[in-house]
């Protein structure tokens, strides 16, 4: 009984803050856009009883989804988001793995400090940090000033408002989510395994490829999903750092909601985004579970 109560708390939480809002969004996505407040119809009025509910359901349709499929802006935006998220995840892995590796190899008394440093950026508002990147990357920004002073370039580089700036922003923002699971996996790694590999004829490098890397696989997978999943729907980074040619579904969603005030289409975009994300989320869960089984 008590066990059931304990389990009930997270489920109630998910029900109230995830499932119910999702159902509302789903309902709106099946409605039609109208000039009213709120800007969609039909509205559910339970005071009319069963008949009212039936009429409400009969007025819902999949028009908005058909529209999304017919206008290639949307699926281009989805594909572009996927592409940017995949590349950004890969870049984050390239930057994050060496950092996690160095942390796990650092003297034990240093590790809590290093861990703290990785988490430290979260103490500042995410928005402020993205704005500071604008200050760094703009053509009169610190980066260009530095490179000009060093004489490495003669013309300021255009980085801000390009996809490069978006990648920099995503890598910077989500780096801790990549580092922490990889670090956790590497820290557990028994040092005698590497000695055994060397003893059996491995060089240091081949011991890394044959032992360290496979044994940190679960951390890599977890880190990649933790970066990939939020990157797809990312809105702030592409809208602040990206340019006009940066097409991401988060931006499209925002524009549908706030510029076009077309809540039903925007909701349909959100529903499809969620459906796309369910696949990697399920894969992520499977990885976590496999890891738990291997640990026990």
């Amino acid at each position: 009984m008590r066990k059931a109560l304990v389990i009930a708390i997270p489920y109630l939480w998910l029900l109230a803050l995830f499932l119910v809002p999702f159902l509302i969004v789903l309902k709106i996505s099946l409605s039609d856009s109208v000039l009213a407040i709120p800007p969609y119809a039909p509205k559910l009025d339970l005071s009319e009883g069963w008949g009212g509910l039936m009429r409400f359901v009969s007025e819902l349709d999949f028009e908005n989804f058909a529209f999304l499929a017919s206008d290639n802006l949307y699926w281009k935006a989805y594909l572009s988001s996927l592409r940017i998220a995949v590349i950004a995840t890969f870049l984050t892995l390239l930057v994050g793995y060496p950092i996690a590796y160095a942390m796990a190899r650092a003297p034990e008394e240093w590790r809590p400090t290093l861990l703290m440093l990785v988490i430290l950026p979260f103490w500042t508002s995410f928005l402020i940090r993205v704005y500071s990147w604008m200050g760094i990357l703009s053509s009169e920004g610190y980066l260009n000033q530095l490179l000009l002073k060093l004489g490495l370039i003669s013309e300021p580089l255009t980085i801000l408002n390009t996809n490069i700036a978006v990648f920099i922003g995503i890598v910077y923002t989500y780096l801790p989510f990549m580092i922490l699971p990889i670090y956790a996996a590497l820290e557990k790694l028994d040092g005698s395994l590497l000695e055994a590999a060397e003893d059996l004829g491995c060089s240091r490098t081949s011991a890394f490829w044959l032992v360290t890397l496979p044994l940190s696989r679960s951390g890599i997978i977890a880190g990649c999903f933790l970066v990939f999943i939020p990157s797809i729907g990312e809105f702030v980074i592409p809208s602040l750092l990206g340019g006009s040619d940066t097409l991401m579904i988060g931006k499209v969603l925002w524009e549908e909601f706030f510029s076009n005030r077309d809540w039903p289409v925007a909701s349909a975009v959100a529903v499809i985004l969620l459906l796309i994300l369910i696949i990697p989320i399920i894969l992520f869960q499977r990885n976590e579970q496999r890891q738990r089984e291997a640990d026990s």
């Binding site: 005698s192 000695e195 003893d199 059996l200």
Partner: protein, 374 residues
């Protein structure tokens, strides 16, 4: 039929496989190995025995190549091994934690070292199967390390380290994680495998029984120095110092001063009002030199009446440790000295001759004890 006794260390013409030449190893201020020299011969089963922190693991790690000596040289088959990295040494190690690769199957674990050599596929498969047969693991070839028992894991680790047919196999507390019964079986298995493969084994252990069972010679270590290197019999019967006598097995140490009464014959004065102890020994001691007599409890007899033996003392039974097949009696002499005597339990326990608080005589012959300079 003549049986040759395996004892290359007695043959001066024999070249040792490994030679430690005045090796010192320091970690910062701490001296782990202190000016140590010793030789290990081919086909030996050599045990490094000592309490934790005595430097035995450091010695082994230097042989494997994970540590290098601060001073001195280690020779392996006539070659200085200091500049040879671990992956280029004809030495393999079985780790205390086994260090099996958790992401690889038993088969893959054993094949790991052979793969690195670039052994052709069919040869490799044959070698792995041979190792699986040797360690009776054929049925578990496809399992992952976490799917087999501790004893099986231990055998995988052994098979993996033997697969490359090393000149020298190092075993770091190989049986530490096994329970007592499995340990005993495995000890004999290890000896058998060592004999069939003809590999030189160096085993590190803190378990003296294990060292005595498996080893051809035992090196007893303390604080980075070797106290004695000898066969198990000699270590037990003829320890060269009080430390070794005390470390190996149970022993009574009686301290006193020596007085020579005839060549090779001593009287040991060991306290006011006690009759001097008589001992025959080859140990050369000066008159009045302080010395210690080490007597194993099983060499001390216990009786109700005063026996005719050279050394006897009367006391009271303070404690009896019942070990099943044996009982150890702790006999307290009137002045508080405790002497342990061990007797085989040939009778059922209810018919035991002595019990607590009984007045008894403990006695031993003049050759039973080892006389040591203190």
């Amino acid at each position: 039929m003549t049986q040759t006794i395996f004892a290359p260390w007695t043959d001066p013409a024999e070249k040792p496989l490994i030679e430690f030449d005045r090796v010192t190893k320091r970690f910062g201020d701490f001296t782990a190995i202190d000016d140590l020299s010793m030789a290990i011969y081919e086909r030996e089963f050599f045990a490094l025995l000592g309490p934790s922190g005595c430097g035995k693991t450091t010695l082994m790690r230097m042989l494997a190549g994970f540590d290098t000596p601060s001073e001195g040289t280690i020779w392996l088959a006539g070659q200085d091994i200091a500049p040879v990295p671990p992956n280029k040494r004809a030495v393999n190690m079985m780790f205390q934690s086994y260090a099996l690769f958790p992401h690889l199957s038993v088969w893959e674990n054993i094949a790991f070292g052979l793969r690195r050599e670039g052994m052709p596929k069919d040869q490799l498969a044959a070698r792995v199967d041979e190792m699986l047969r040797l360690t009776r693991l054929q049925r578990f070839a496809g399992r992952k390390p976490h799917q087999i028992s501790g004893g099986q894991r231990q055998r995988v680790a052994l098979a993996r380290s033997l697969a490359k047919a090393p000149k020298l196999l190092l075993l770091d507390e190989p049986l530490g994680a096994l329970d007592a019964k499995l340990r005993q079986d495995t000890q004999f298995e290890l000896m058998e495998i060592q004999e069939t493969t003809g590999t030189t084994f160096v085993i590190v252990t803190h378990d003296q029984e294990e060292a005595m069972t498996v080893a051809s010679r035992v090196a007893v270590m303390d604080e980075g120095r070797v106290m004695q290197i000898a066969t198990p019999e000699d270590i037990y019967e003829a320890p060269s110092s009080v430390y070794v006598a005390d470390f190996i097995g149970d022993v009574n140490i009686l301290r006193g001063t020596a007085r020579q009464t005839a060549p090779g014959r001593y009287e040991i004065l060991w306290g006011e009002g006690r009759a001097p102890l008589i001992s025959e020994s080859d140990t050369a001691l000066d008159n009045g030199q302080s010395c210690a007599l080490a007597i194993r409890p099983e060499k001390v007899s216990i009786s109700a009446d005063r026996p005719e033996t050279a050394n006897a003392a009367q006391g009271k039974i303070l404690d009896i440790a019942y070990l099943g097949n044996l009982s150890t009696y702790h006999v307290e002499l009137p002045d508080g000295q405790i002497i342990k005597a061990q007797e085989a339990n040939t009778q059922r326990i209810a018919r035991r001759s002595f019990t607590w608080e009984d007045e008894v005589w403990v006695s031993w012959t003049k050759t039973a004890a080892v006389l040591l300079a203190d």
